[in-house]
Subunit: 443 residues, 2 copies
Amino acid sequence: MNPVEIIRKKRDKQKLTREEMEFFIKGYVDGKIPDYQMSAFLMAIYFNKMDFDETVVFTDIMLNSGVVVDLSDIPGVKVDKHSTGGIGDKVSIILAPMVASCGVPVPMISGRGLGHTGGTLDKLDSIPGFRTNLSLGEYKEVISKIGIVMIGQTKEIAPADKKMYALRDVTGTVECIPLIAGSIMSKKLAEGIDALVLDIKTGRGAFMQSKEDAIELAKTLIAIGNRFGKKTIGFLTDMSQPLGNAVGNWLEIAECVECLRGKDVPDLMEVTYLLGGAMLMLGKKASSIEDGIKICKEAITSGRAYKKFLEMVEHQGGKKEYIEELSKYPKSKYSKSIVSKSDGDIVKIDALEVGLVGIILGAGRMKVDDVIDPKAGIVFYKKVGDSVEKGDTIAILYCDDEEKLKQAEKRLERAILVATEPCTPPKLIYAMIDEMGIHEWKQ
Amino acid sequence: MNPVEIIRKKRDKQKLTREEMEFFIKGYVDGKIPDYQMSAFLMAIYFNKMDFDETVVFTDIMLNSGVVVDLSDIPGVKVDKHSTGGIGDKVSIILAPMVASCGVPVPMISGRGLGHTGGTLDKLDSIPGFRTNLSLGEYKEVISKIGIVMIGQTKEIAPADKKMYALRDVTGTVECIPLIAGSIMSKKLAEGIDALVLDIKTGRGAFMQSKEDAIELAKTLIAIGNRFGKKTIGFLTDMSQPLGNAVGNWLEIAECVECLRGKDVPDLMEVTYLLGGAMLMLGKKASSIEDGIKICKEAITSGRAYKKFLEMVEHQGGKKEYIEELSKYPKSKYSKSIVSKSDGDIVKIDALEVGLVGIILGAGRMKVDDVIDPKAGIVFYKKVGDSVEKGDTIAILYCDDEEKLKQAEKRLERAILVATEPCTPPKLIYAMIDEMGIHEWKQ
């Protein structure tokens, strides 16, 4: 087989065979096919897409380029959640211990933030001592002992995806649904899960801003999961404004800890309970999503979820005292309040802009090697739909650099809109999606 | 500027600025932008094309990536010809000395053959001693002394094109009209010419098989030439069957020598005279193309053209005795005749297949580092439209390898069609194309 012929075939909209895809991707991982041929191939895929069969084959090749963890000796239905990412999306950190505390094992391999969206891994890393870089041996040990583990992609997991993702990032070939779906699912299927719940974000702060794209991605992910024998369902949720109140790594951990202790942050907990309910249902610990939601709420009020979280922190090397006493954590040198300049309703908090303001503050990264300040970020005191009076604090920004804080303040002010006409909060859960199709979700 | 942003801009069909194109291409030549970003960029251009302004800028950047030869101290209007290539297309070798012998200096930088089409450079290289690798200093010396020079692309000429062409060849990004046009014109404009005549081939054996593509390429090349202040016109000519009788490097040189000495090979000489007439017209040595054709015919019958050819061979180190006595040249070990199996008319000689048969025989290359046998090839004794009787020789194949000869024979037999219905030869000159548009050409 000739790599140029395979590139030309995809370029000319012909369907690729499994043998051709294997030759190309394995050859790339082995170093026989150079970066420049892979990037031309990826750009051809960007334009001509892959059909579902090709996407399944693509996922399978990436999945099997590394270790597929076997958790079959751990009792129970192992369920994970994946979110396509957003601003303030800290759901996993409450959700995983909550679900695990209800008897469903949650083996979770997460990613870092890049661009305007944050990453679960960066948030966990802000906990002093917490190790997200467990080996696969340690990963299996922790999940089998306490029913929960949260780590980052190891070098054994889908190495083809790791190499290709790095190349896509620098060649303008990220935004392509079959490639995104293959990349996500090859990692999730390698974790050793039996079922998967997806949180597909849509709106200004989401990777897929339009609902059409988000639905297409969701359908592809769900179809792949089910094709591989892992029951997969998803929810289409809003990412027009940040989720919850905190944006920034430790600030989000602190918010999660408060929620695990029983604080109600309405939008954040609504999404968390919904996904938790679905996970319990898939994990055979609830008869329905509604039943699962009830059990999850009880896990929070009883303190069981918080206890499971502390257990995970301890087993992954984290210093529990920072969790138990949040105020022990170091604070940013500078802070700045955004106050309302008029009476009215908050009608917009532009999630994308908030994400970019987060990067200015040091809470996110634009390039993979940018260093993150775990203390930096924003805490919102008002959300879309809330009424404000002139002088009310809408948000507080935290940063160690005075100059950047000023920049961030100006930009955040422009991202928030207060108007006199009354505004209702945006719909949070748009739809439930499964193999059958898209179903309206009654809140 | 960020290379990924520029790739994404082209990918998203936005027009690139000169600054962005310069940043990208210069960065690539300097090694600051890696192959893998350039190949993604090229594939994005393949899909979204470049508009005319972008193509002009692209050509200009490639042209100015190297030396632009200054021939202004040589008197006269310097005129060159470029052909998009075909099978048996040996026109340049008769044309350049013919035109130069009429007082129009012809500075010609040619390319090698790749794939099914031959290259002028490989043909010239078959002349013992002939040096096509002159330095730019020698190039200027020869053209100023004898009014003609024929060499290959030196490392100083459009190095950006050289580097990019090599990458396009291995990434499936060759077949893109703006890239092809920029590549051709950046080299032609670097030669030091004042005007250019193009021979745009169309049909089975041409790079642009369809007339529509050939016309689009011709229009682009002509517009670029004129934009750069070099009067450029073109002819759309047939490449459905090989041009002339010989296919193969030395075999074609021998045919050219015979034509220069006055032999009439009708299709070959019709194209040669037409292009020569146009070159004399552009070179201000004829009042019209028709007038130029008359002068060219006189250059052949008088022996002036042949004398100029011998002069060039001598000045570029070639051994004149092989030209003066063609039979001195070594012969292939084996030969094989294709004879007609029935009475009838030749209705097809598939030029593409003939080109591929040439490669089997050793007359062409599939990869840039394939070695060519200058003796190998095919000589046709009949062309499309000729009548044959059973047993007539249609062609003779030459090769040093008996096994390959057999393979080639079988394939060539299938490429030639004899039928009982009478057949007229194909139209040879389809149209003349200039800045104004496409004009029918009355033969």
